[in-house]
């Protein structure tokens, strides 16, 4: 039977024993028999169908007792080949594919895609369109974070925040529906503008949401932030250093929780984000608790941006006034010959792009969302449409984060990364 040598001593920082801190114990080390327990590693499979994986994600864990020694994520169960489909569609026809990726914050994906195409084609959208898109993107940042908040709280046993956050999400669903007619599959943007301008009363509805939302957020704050159980489950769990976070490709709140103040809105600003007054919350420990704090604060900052954007929302047209890019109104297309021709050409052929490629990075709710489009001269369809999926890269870090933690912590780490499988698998 194997034996283990046990040495007695006084641990650092403890003031006990005659000699004070760090005194070796007078007892001599001695051997105790160690029972011959099995050391076989156990494999446990989580998912693909499991509520705690937040989608069809499969995690195969190798366990030493209850400690995770290795995690192998298996993805692809939701692979829909969006990027391949995009090569067969004209620029505007791709928009409906984008919101099906991140169905938790669809408007951000709509906006990011058309921004990239517009940058490639050199189209400058109208001032009103810019501000409307900022409003929509910030609204959906709250939308995405709220889902993360509710489901993550449920993963650690707190049910109430789930109800609170989904009540608020329902309001945003209402706003989506009033704007686009759809609750999730919004498809709100078009190259050169929007599907439609904001409907009457929409801003009042948004203002109503903004008035009530911070109260709910404060309630959730009170329920979770100082909660001993929540702190115990999240602090020190899944921590990563700043350098590692960058090297492993973390972006978004996950990266900022590790202490790197990288926010695409600040560092590579688009749509005049540099003129909005908002803070980028940065954590210091890079653990699940800091990720929670970062997202909570980001929602408050998004409310600030929304108020500022509403205040500066200019009038004027929402679509660029170029008949080769924007569709004419239905009335014009039916009554005016020239408009009808433009309408016909745009629908049947699409918008020709210049030769080149364009990578447009924006700050989505999950992290840096990059839309990379490659076009050939005059191409009305992309040669390649690539989405740089933030969740995909964030999820790839999970083997490193979960190593050495308990299985229950793995669930918390997975939840804290805020993944959406529709975008990971594409």
């Amino acid at each position: 039977m194997a034996t283990k040598t046990v040495e007695f001593g006084v641990g650092p920082g403890r003031e006990m024993g005659p000699g004070g801190v760090g005194t070796p114990s007078p007892l001599a080390p001695f051997d105790i028999p160690e029972p011959d327990i099995g050391t076989e590693r156990m494999l446990i499979n989580i998912g693909p169908q499991h509520p705690a994986t937040h989608g069809v994600l499969r995690l195969v864990c190798e366990l030493d007792g209850e400690t995770v020694t290795e995690v192998t994520p298996h993805i692809g169960y939701l692979h829909s080949s969006f990027e391949k489909l995009g090569e067969y569609r004209t620029w505007n026809q791709i928009v409906p594919l984008t919101d099906r990726m991140d169905y938790l914050a669809p408007l951000i994906y709509n906006c990011a895609y058309v921004m990239s195409v517009e940058k490639l084609m050199g189209i400058e959208v109208t001032e009103r369109c810019k501000v409307v898109r900022v409003i929509l993107m910030e609204l959906d940042r709250i939308f995405g974070h709220l889902l993360w908040l509710g489901t993550t709280a449920i993963d650690v046993g707190a049910f109430t925040p789930f109800l609170y956050s989904f009540q608020q999400r329902e309001k945003i669903y209402g706003l989506h529906e009033a704007l686009t007619g759809a609750r999730i599959t919004t498809s709100a943007t078009r190259v050169g503008g929007m599907m439609a301008d904001l409907p009457d009363g929409w801003l009042d509805q948004l203002l109503d949401f903004l008035d009530n939302f911070p109260k709910t957020l404060a309630e959730v704050h009170r329920l979770l932030t100082g909660n001993q159980i929540h702190i115990g489950r999240t602090q020190g769990v899944g921590a990563i250093s700043a350098d590692d976070a960058i090297n492993y490709g973390f972006t978004g709140p996950n990266l900022r929780a590790a202490g790197v103040p990288y926010d695409v809105r600040k560092d590579r600003p688009y749509y005049d984000y540099e003129t909005y007054d908002f803070e980028v919350p940065v954590g210091e420990h890079g653990d699940c608790y800091d990720r929670y704090l970062c997202r909570m604060e980001e929602m408050r900052q998004s409310v600030r941006i929304l108020h500022q954007a509403m205040a500066r929302l200019p009038g004027g047209p929402i679509n660029v006034e170029d008949p080769n890019i924007s569709l004419p109104s239905k009335t014009d297309a039916m009554s005016d010959m020239e408009s009808m021709i433009h309408h016909f050409k745009l629908i049947t052929e699409g918008i020709p792009a210049p030769e080149g490629d364009c990578y447009m990075a924006i700050e989505a709710s999950k992290g840096e969302l990059g839309m990379y489009v490659v076009a050939e001269e005059g191409g009305t369809k992309p040669v390649r449409w690539r989405v740089r999926p933030p969740s995909f890269v964030n999820l790839s870090v999970i083997p490193k984060l979960a190593e050495g933690h308990l299985v229950s912590d793995l669930i918390m780490i997975n939840a804290s990364l805020d993944i959406v499988l529709g975008e990971i698998d594409r």
């Binding site: 692809g76 692979h79 090569e87 490709g249 490659v374 050939e376 690539r386 995909f392 790839s396």
Partner: protein
């Protein structure tokens, strides 16, 4: 554009691919002085840089030869003048028509606030390039995805397996232009293969294919012995 074809014809044909050879855009555009890294790259690796281009208004793209790509990328990451510490994206582009498949690196330097795109054309008969996993861990899954969807082999990648498509996917590389939209096999064949799959197979310990052999200190379990370690045969199918 298709003149007298129905929309369905276009779907069957796939995206219009240019005819062989290079497009007319061989010449470099933009001025390398606008982007410090482009100028430095031209100076440090004059033979490796094929051309550079200014795209979409303010984005610099540099085409490099694949042979010393790892060296160049390591230099971009570690040189104090550049410090591209963030590998945002690794992806591939296939133009079709026999043109090379290009591997595209999107890099960003958090120190200098600069973004750069490196494109590395690989001829179709030598789709191999050095992995940059040792420099940026974020490249791990991204390179796996390029391997999975384009069939580009990354040398010295720690764990080069398919990632989005199933491990035993036999129809090829979906994002290549010669891959039909509906797959290579008929729908009947696809269904047959799905039904014939041994679903248990993906739940066996030996089948995980971590890249690292699993350490089992005691005797292997009876289930593993019975199945006769199917992991070994699967290795060959991957390439």
């Amino acid at each position: 554009m298709s003149d007298s074809k129905s929309p369905l014809d276009a779907v069957e044909e796939g995206p219009a691919s240019s005819d062989g050879g290079d497009s007319g855009a061989q010449a470099s555009t933009g001025s390398p002085d606008d982007h410090p890294t482009v100028a430095a790259l031209l100076e440090a690796f004059p033979d490796e840089v094929q051309r550079y281009r200014l795209n979409a208004g303010d984005q610099y793209v540099v085409w490099i030869r694949p042979d010393r790509s790892h060296e160049i990328l390591a230099w971009l990451k570690n040189d104090p003048e550049h410090l591209y510490d963030m590998m945002s994206d690794v992806t591939g582009v296939d133009y079709g028509g026999g043109r090379p498949v290009e591997v595209v690196y999107q890099m960003y330097s958090t120190t200098h606030g600069l973004a750069l795109r490196i494109r590395c054309p690989l001829p179709l008969d030598a789709l191999e390039i050095d992995s940059v996993c040792d420099l940026w861990n974020s490249a791990n899954w991204l390179e796996r995805e390029v391997f999975d969807l384009f069939g580009v082999t990354f040398r010295d990648h720690p764990d080069l397996r398919r990632i989005l498509m199933p491990d035993d996917y036999a129809e090829g590389y979906p994002l290549r232009k010669d891959f039909p939209l509906r797959g290579r096999f008929s729908r009947a064949e696809q269904t047959r293969r799905a039904l014939n799959q041994d679903v248990e197979r993906f739940y066996l310990a030996e089948d995980l294919g971590h890249g690292v052999p699993q350490e089992v200190e005691s005797a292997p379990s009876p289930a593993a012995l019975e199945s006769g370690a199917p992991g070994a045969e699967r290795e060959g199918e991957q390439g």
